[in-house]
């Protein structure tokens, strides 16, 4: 059995969630659009799930649209809102460290006549309202800022950004995937108008997510068909997955508090010990305003993929922002936005804790990390022993 420390990439479905889903594959297989009693059972659980999931983020049940996941929700929020609001303006603001889906959707919108501005972040990865204010103008229709970075774990000042957008009468979208289940989120307190959330990131099944749409915010549908989800997202509802997400939310409401305390303890110990034991090692992201389960390091003179492979040899699964492990061979745009050079962005290690980690997992990492780093540094032309601090 390996030690899994990459919860940011994928989470196992909680067995309690699977139990809740099972009857909906065979016994309660109805289509909510059907008018007979088998269909009624499906309608009932669909609407109950919508209410439960909505409550988790402070939303009313008719403000929740089921989608195939957060990527679809992001597409729907940005493209759907931009197309609907074309008469009001054509300018959209995002940050330099948004998730790749937001960056690529923004590029798509640019090719289709919209103008996109990107807010630079500070060295800890924080977006400032000041830099946002410099960028909005009379044509700005939408601001999209992720709640927290899935890579470096920095949490954004969402309430302040939401308040600013509300005052300027600009719609505010936030992708909460990295933060959901780790931080309590309330769309009303934080003035969020559109929000993307995934099921898997709270230990529900993959292939499901929601788009929260504040009452009064109008968007165009992207998937057109039989008119499900108030005509905004057609296609027969994925009832087993929806039931799974509902159960995942219920469990999260019960356990989030204790769980995040446990992660924070792991995180703080890992960060403190790593920075003490390994020379020329740095923490990426914000020292305090960071997700409770995220530790993100960089090491002078070594490259992330070799780091990842070395951990793999020891049966420890971790992640890296190295270009060599990416599809495009580009270094992480988030690390570059922090002000790092390419060679520095290559030497990163991301560790994210989750529900099924045990106390010994931090020891497992600390037991091998210093040796792995020192072995790779011996191979490296960039790291001279005498330069040790």
């Amino acid at each position: 059995m390996s030690v899994y420390l990459d919860y940011q990439s994928s989470k196992p479905v909680d067995p309690r969630v699977i139990d809740a889903m099972l009857p909906y594959f065979h016994e309660k297989f109805g289509n909510p659009s059907s008018l007979h009693s088998v269909g009624d059972i499906a309608t009932e659980i669909l609407e109950e799930s919508r209410s439960t999931i909505g409550r988790f983020i402070g939303a009313d049940h008719d403000e929740v649209i089921f989608t195939s996941g957060a990527t679809e929700s992001n597409n729907h929020a940005l493209i759907g809102y931009a197309l609907r609001s074309r008469d009001k303006g054509n300018h959209i603001v995002i940050s330099e460290i948004e998730h790749i889906s937001i960056h690529n959707i923004a590029k798509y919108l640019e090719r289709n006549g919209f103008v996109v501005s990107k807010i630079p972040v500070d060295q800890f990865g924080r977006v400032s309202v000041g830099k946002l204010a410099e960028r909005v103008n009379g044509k700005t229709i939408l601001v999209s800022i992720g709640y927290a970075s899935d890579e470096i774990g920095t949490i954004q000042p969402i309430s302040e950004i939401g308040k600013f957008c509300r005052e300027k009468n600009i719609a505010f979208h936030s992708d909460i995937v990295a933060a959901e289940g780790l931080i309590p989120i309330d769309v009303n307190k934080e003035n969020i108008d559109l929000l993307s959330m995934s099921s898997n990131d709270i230990y529900g099944p993959k292939g499901l997510g929601i788009l929260y749409l504040r009452k009064g915010i109008r968007i165009n549908p992207l998937i057109i068909g039989g008119g499900q989800e108030a005509g905004l997202r057609s296609g027969t509802e994925n009832i087993p997955a929806i039931v799974g997400m509902k159960r995942a939310v219920e469990i999260m409401q019960q356990e989030m508090n204790a769980e995040t305390k446990r992660f924070q303890h792991y995180r703080d110990r890992l960060i403190e010990e790593t920075l003490t034991r390994v020379p020329r090692c740095y923490l990426n992201g914000h020292p305090t305003d960071r997700l409770p389960n995220n530790a993100h390091f960089r090491f002078d003179g070594i490259e992330g993929e070799s780091l990842l492979l070395s951990f793999k040899e020891k049966n420890i699964e971790v992640s890296t922002g190295s270009a060599c492990s990416s599809k495009t061979l580009e270094p992480s745009h988030t690390l570059i936005a922090l002000g790092l050079l390419h060679e520095e962005a290559h030497g990163s290690l991301e560790i994210t804790f989750g529900r099924f980690n045990k106390d010994g997992d931090v020891d497992a990492v600390l037991g091998v990390l210093p040796d792995i780093v020192s072995r790779l540094r011996k191979l490296s032309p960039l790291y001279k022993e005498e330069a040790k601090s």
Binding site: Q123, G301, E303, L308, C324, G339, E343, S380, S389
Partner: protein, 258 residues
């Protein structure tokens, strides 16, 4: 195929790389190659006797396949004549390793290039250079300098606390610029020191700067300052690789020449 799905042979060379290290001596030539896209860097040391590669060592900063291909090529090249070694291609290296993920073929290219570069250096040593390269020392204009003066660009420093927790870039302008860089490291975790030289002029403060958390960019020049209302990023020129890239910074210190 995923970029990290490596053959057992690649993993073997990654776990136990052959011929790691450096060589010294009159008959040693060093070849260096960096791949700017991937950020990999390789150094090869060859010792040539009677036109044959008698010994070869390497160091590499890079992904698993970069390490494995460097290790592999040292085995392929050892004992060959320099002309035979020049014929080793990236395909040869990949084949010897039982294949590489397609996206990683550039890494093995790097190993072959680095070896070729070392051999080129060896050949150059045999016939001394006729022309001596002289780097002209000229003060080039930095685009955006005027626009951002006082908006993130500082030519004189009176209050260091201005830079607290900012990403500060400081250009080499003699001893005083090093002194300021050292002071800044106590105020902010990110200080970038830019020099057009290959190394800093020897001195206690230079040594201290190298030892500090300051990121020193050697053989580099600042080309352009960019931002909306204030400094947000810069365009840098790596003179060694002749490459340009953007770097996010908040403040830039460019002292007037002493």
């Amino acid at each position: 195929m995923k970029s990290t799905q490596y053959s057992e042979k690649v993993l073997d060379h990654f776990r136990n790389p052959r011929n790691v290290g450096t060589l010294e001596g009159e008959d040693v030539a060093v070849g260096t190659v960096g791949n700017p896209v991937c950020g990999d860097l390789m150094e090869f040391y060859i010792k040539v006797k009677d036109n044959r590669i008698e010994d070869i060592k390497f160091k590499t900063f890079g992904c698993g396949s970069a390490i494995a291909t460097a290790s592999m090529i040292t085995e392929l090249a050892k004992g060959k004549t320099v002309d035979e070694a020049l014929k080793i291609t990236r395909q040869d290296v990949a084949d010897e390793l039982n294949g590489l993920p397609p996206i990683k073929m550039h890494c093995s290219n790097l190993a072959a290039d680095a070896l070729k570069n070392a051999i080129k250096k060896y050949k150059e040593k045999q016939e001394p250079l006729s022309k001596q390269r002289i780097a002209p020392e000229e003060q080039k204009e930095i685009a955006g300098m005027k626009q951002f003066r006082g908006r993130g660009v500082y030519e004189e420093i009176s209050d260091l606390s201005l830079f607290k927790d900012k990403r500060v870039m400081i250009l080499e302008r003699g001893e005083r610029s090093i002194e300021i860089a050292l002071k800044l490291t106590k105020l902010t975790p990110r200080v970038v020191f830019v020099t057009s030289e290959k190394q800093l002029r020897p001195g206690t403060m230079s040594e201290e700067l190298v030892e500090s958390s300051t990121k020193i960019l050697y053989e580099s020049e600042l080309k352009e300052i960019r931002g909306l209302n204030t400094v947000e990023k810069v365009l840098m020129h790596d003179m060694n690789e002749d490459e340009e890239y953007e770097l996010f910074v908040d403040s830039i210190v460019i002292l007037r020449n002493e």
